[in-house]
């Protein structure tokens, strides 16, 4: 039902000013009409108010916080106006179904600050093209300080991203500090105190994200990509063999032991209470079967189960068990496309993330044909090499350009920008991410027909990048030029 209208108004002191303000509305709204007149906003005369009939009123934590935040963004330094010209008062209004819509509308109001329409009413008519607009951050290959993640969430909100896919752990390190299994980070993190995320850190991130309308989906990738887990959880990983003897190295999670599923169950239970989002990402990519093959116990198990030499079946079994765990937690699981590819009953999957290069549209077609929802990441791997002037590469993606029924297209729920961490840490994350991820943001938010031209997008994106600089975001330049306010930090 769409009856929960939220209405709030903002009172303005309006003053006619000369035209020529910066453009830079990004991503492009569905409908935007611009009058020729410009009005000034004065911090003394401007306020956000809840509309009389709004179902949200003072005390709505999300909007109260947003009002304060966007007031500060609208008026970076509290300029005192001494002489005013023909001043008149006006107000705008913003209507949304939910607070989340209001947030993103508000983001636009910020963008439209000097472009109120002629009748002094600002009507936002906007909605996202895809419901899932994500960014993946990898905190295992390098540790990202909490402050860096919080800052990234801020910038995500400016770009109308609404999902942080947090690839928390992987082979190199296990920075998630578990209450139930503290040894995982004690032994598996780069450093047990300085390079971990405590439960308090995570609660802070989740709350920071919520106030900006952003979901955080944690990924605990298994059974591969788990080297760091093995240090704090003996017996979890499969011992690899060389001939008849253990080689001393370890492979993926050992799928033959029920103790491992008990462990996973307890860990994911803890994770599912800490992260309120209904989705949990289970990974499942790049499982190397060679270690399983080398292990006599695993081979015995294969024989017992009648799997022959098809290790994909063993992978399927592992995922069936994992999905059962997720089901008992009332969560929805997301997996990388590898699981779909080797799973014996792929239709049972909830959501599949397509990440491999090559014909990714072929994979999208296959997954949606099986009736499974898809998140598309392949074309938005920001760490992949390419020409320097490459934001257009991320902009010109056409996510729905695969052959399939209307139903199949609806199963593509969105896309995700991936910034893997091999060469990324707090020193370079922001300029690598912005404004290249902004290009993907528009693709996922805006109407494709209205935003197909790179050359038309370029000046708008350049202006938006300057706006990001003004907000203290370390967004790198698209090309030669300048911003009124340059980035002043290091």
């Amino acid at each position: 039902t769409h009856t929960h209208w939220i209405l709030f108004m903002f009172l303005l002191t309006l003053q006619r000013v000369a035209p020529g303000g910066e453009a830079g509305v990004w991503p492009m709204p569905r409908k935007m009409s611009e009058g020729s007149e410009r009005y000034a906003l004065h911090p003394q005369g401007f306020s956000f108010r809840y509309g009389r009939d709004s179902s949200a009123q003072l005390g709505c934590s999300v909007l109260d916080a947003a009002f304060r935040r966007y007031f500060a963004l609208c008026f970076p330094e509290n300029t005192v106006e001494t002489d005013r010209l023909s001043v008149s008062a006006g107000h705008g209004e913003l209507t949304a179904n939910t607070v989340w819509g209001a947030l993103r509308g508000e983001s636009h109001f910020r963008d439209l600050i000097i472009r109120l329409s002629r009748n002094l009413f600002l009507k936002i008519e906007d909605f996202p093209r895809f419901q899932y607009r994500g960014i993946l951050l990898d905190t295992s290959r390098h540790f990202l300080p909490v402050r860096t993640i919080l800052k990234t969430l801020d910038v995500m909100a400016y770009n109308k991203f609404n999902v942080l896919h947090w690839h928390v752990v992987d082979d190199p390190s296990f920075p998630y500090q578990s209450q139930s299994f503290p040894d995982l980070s004690n032994k598996g993190a780069f450093h047990p105190q300085s390079h971990v995320y405590t439960q308090a850190d995570i609660r802070k991130m989740v709350s920071h994200a919520r106030l900006r309308g952003i979901r955080i989906i944690p990924e605990f990738d298994s059974p591969g990509h788990t080297q760091s887990w093995g240090k704090g959880q003996p017996g979890l990983l499969t011992p690899c063999y060389k001939g008849l003897h253990p080689s001393g190295t370890f492979g993926p999670v050992n799928p033959t032991l029920s103790t491992n599923y008990n462990f996973m169950g307890r860990l994911l239970k803890e994770v599912s209470t800490l992260f309120p989002d209904p989705y949990i990402h289970l990974g499942g990519d790049e499982v190397d079967f060679s270690c399983w093959k080398s292990n006599p116990d695993v081979r015995m198990f294969m024989k017992k189960m009648g799997f022959g030499t098809d290790y994909g079946k063993l992978g399927s079994l592992y995922f069936k068990n994992m999905m059962n765990i997720i089901e008992t937690l009332n969560k929805t699981s997301v997996v990388w496309q590898d699981v779909f590819d080797y799973h014996s009953s792929p239709k049972s999957l909830d959501v599949v993330e397509v990440w491999k290069a090559g014909c990714y549209m072929c994979e999208v077609r296959r997954v949606t044909a099986a009736g499974v929802r898809v998140i598309l990441a392949s074309p938005w791997y920001l760490d992949q090499p390419g020409p320097t002037h490459e934001w257009s590469r991320f902009y010109t993606v056409r996510p729905l350009a695969f052959t399939g029924t209307e139903h199949q297209k609806r199963l593509l729920i969105g896309g995700e920008v991936c910034l893997w961490g091999e060469y990324v840490d707090g020193t370079n994350l922001a300029p690598l991410l912005w404004p290249r991820a902004s290009a993907a943001a528009e693709r996922l938010w805006s109407d494709e027909a209205q935003t197909s031209s790179v050359s038309q997008a370029y000046p708008r994106l350049a202006a938006f990048r300057c706006k990001l600089l003004r907000r203290g975001v370390q967004a790198q330049p698209l090309f030669v030029g300048h911003c009124k306010h340059e980035y002043e930090d290091l």
Binding site: R141, H142, F143, P145, R147, T148, K151, D171, P172, S173, F190, H191, S194, H195, H225, Q227, S228, D285, E286, W355, A357, Y381, D383, Q384, P385, T388, H389, W420, G421, E422, Y423, V424, D425, G426, T427, N428, A430, P431, L432, L469, Q474, A475, Q476, P477, L478, F479, V480, G481, H482, K484, H485, E486, Y487, E488, D489, L490
Partner: protein
């Protein structure tokens, strides 16, 4: 195992190695060779000194008792501001901001180094001098029990010795600072170790330039090649021609370098033994000059009519040379370095060709249709002008290629990527000094560990006599500004430029990429700890991650 390091450090390094060995990389297809992270027997030294022997004997360093002092024999004393501020800087680098650690520890448990004695051996300490290319840069120093000597002949080099000393200090497992008994004799392989930054395509705030001068000192760079103006903007504020920046900068107040800014940059660099060589590139790359200086640029024509657009500097007008004489007189006073870079690259002849006055001038001077001769005509006049200011000049390779008559002390910068070996051969065969930048264009980025590519360059691998090789006085890493501004400059530059730094400083036989990787990984963490956001080489971590942002 490295017996030369304290065992505390050794365990730390092993832990680092163990963690990273497991980090196998996937999802990536393009991919340079990734060395295994281990430990170097040279610890974290970067660039590697010419001769270094690290003994296993370790000494304590306590911030409460450690001092850097002038030795009695030194020609410099507490009045030498360049050294005094370096003492403070390196004390802070070594001990951070945690003061008085172990203030009440019993003395005598470990041998302790309490003093670093600094000894300027030459009669003139040159404390107030400006560094020059001919500076004697050899030095040696050794660690002894109870105090330490630095022996130097020249002040700016001593700064580099302090850097080396600070790199030898490490923390043991209890967080105590230690240093091993070490003997070092050091000198740079090349005298010119430069870094080019471009403040025209994007304006670089002074703060960013200063931070990168800090990072340069940490890497023993000694020349900041400041490509200060170009087509896109003219941020240099001239006192004689203020219209140049007033009309040619991106913004006449917020996007310029005032005379005070320039002085600050030069002094900040001098305090770190770094020369500042300014580049005022002409006759091409000058679009922004035209806005504030009428008639300086050539009017382009379409048929018989001016198109309204402009080309390179107009070489046929006397007013052009009057302007250049006044302008470069100012520049030669503002920048104390004995060299000025005059550019001279990528001159586009089409506009000159289109202009009827220039066509007539060509005919008059018998240049026929050879516009290279016109370019030479301009450059020779310019060189005479700059020569009269008693400055030497540097130029990009095209000026040499086009056969312009050059003064014998001209330095030719080789930048074109293809056949740079051959170009080095030609330039040195003609008897000119040269610096190499072609293989070190850091603005080209690729995925993965491209630092290795810069590291593996051998500048002297061209055919030529020993005398020719001696003419290669150094090299430069260039970070052009098309896609670079304050937001991404520092992480893009470091530690990639560090790879070039070692190539220009260390012995020719220092080529082990694996050993370099181990040292550079720690060196980059050290830069991060000192507040420079240097990007990671690969998977892993630093004890102290970047605190900025």
């Amino acid at each position: 195992m490295n017996p030369a390091l304290g065992w505390g450090t050794t365990t730390f390094l092993l832990l680092l190695a163990a963690v990273v060995c497991h980090g196998h990389v996937e999802r990536q297809e393009q991919w340079e060779e990734v060395p295994q992270l281990g430990e170097s027997r040279f610890g974290s030294l970067w660039p590697l000194p010419q001769n270094v022997v690290i003994s296993p004997v370790a000494f304590m360093l306590r911030s409460s008792s450690f001092q850097i002092v002038h030795s009695a024999e030194s020609s410099a004393g507490p009045g030498c501001s360049i050294l005094q501020s370096a003492f403070r800087r390196y004390f802070e680098y070594m001990f951070g901001y945690t003061k008085n650690q172990g203030g009440n520890t019993k003395k005598g448990q470990d041998s302790e180094v309490t003093e670093l004695q600094v000894w300027i051996t030459s009669a003139d300490s040159e404390c107030d001098a400006y560094p020059s290319v001919t500076s004697d840069e050899s030095c040696d120093y050794s660690a002894l029990c109870c105090y330490m000597f630095l022996l130097y002949s020249y002040t700016p080099l001593l700064l580099l010795g302090l850097e080396t000393f600070s790199q030898l200090v490490y923390e043991d497992q209890y967080g105590a600072k230690k240093i091993n008994k070490t003997d070092v004799q050091d000198f740079p392989r090349f005298a010119h170790r430069g870094l080019l930054l471009d403040s025209s395509r994007h304006f670089l705030p002074v703060k960013v330039i200063l931070a990168n001068l800090e990072a340069m000192a940490m890497n023993k760079y000694n020349v900041f090649h400041w490509h200060i103006v170009d087509d896109n903007s003219f941020p240099y504020e001239s006192t004689v021609f203020p219209d140049l920046s007033r009309k040619g900068a991106y913004h006449p107040y917020t996007h310029i370098y005032t005379p005070t800014d320039v002085k600050m940059v030069i002094e900040f660099a001098r305090m770190r033994g770094i020369r500042v060589i300014s580049e005022f590139d002409t006759p091409g790359h000058t679009q922004s000059w035209g806005k504030g200086q009428m008639d300086l640029l050539t009017s382009c024509y379409s048929g018989e009519n001016p198109t309204g657009s402009f080309g390179p500097v107009n070489p046929i007008l006397n007013s052009t040379y009057d302007f250049m004489a006044k302008f470069f007189k100012e520049v030669s006073l503002v920048f104390p370095d004995t060299y000025i870079h005059l550019g001279g690259d990528e001159v586009d002849f089409t506009c000159w060709k289109s202009n009827p006055d220039i066509q007539a001038f060509m005919q008059e001077h018998g240049f026929d249709k050879d516009f290279k001769k016109l370019e030479s005509y301009y450059i020779q006049k310019l060189l005479d002008i700059v020569g009269s200011t008693k400055k030497g000049y540097m130029i990009w390779q095209e000026v040499f290629d086009n056969g312009v008559k050059l003064k014998p002390d001209t330095v030719v910068e080789v930048w074109m990527g293809s056949n740079y070996q051959e170009e080095l051969q030609n330039v040195t065969a003609a008897g000119f000094s040269t610096i190499l930048s072609a293989p070190w264009y850091l603005d080209y980025i690729s995925y993965g560990q491209d630092w290795q590519r810069y590291y593996k360059v051998e500048p002297l691998a061209f055919k030529g006599t020993d005398a020719q090789k001696k003419l290669v006085i150094g090299g430069e890493a260039c970070l052009w500004g098309e896609y670079v501004d304050a937001t991404n400059l520092t992480p893009r530059l470091w530690p990639r430029a560090s790879a070039v730094a070692e190539r220009l400083w260390s012995n020719q036989n220092v080529t082990d990429v694996g050993d370099a990787y181990n040292r550079l990984t720690q060196h980059r963490c050290r830069m991060v700890a000192r507040g420079i956001p240097a990007e990671p080489l690969f998977v892993g971590y630093c004890d102290q991650e970047y605190k900025g942002l």
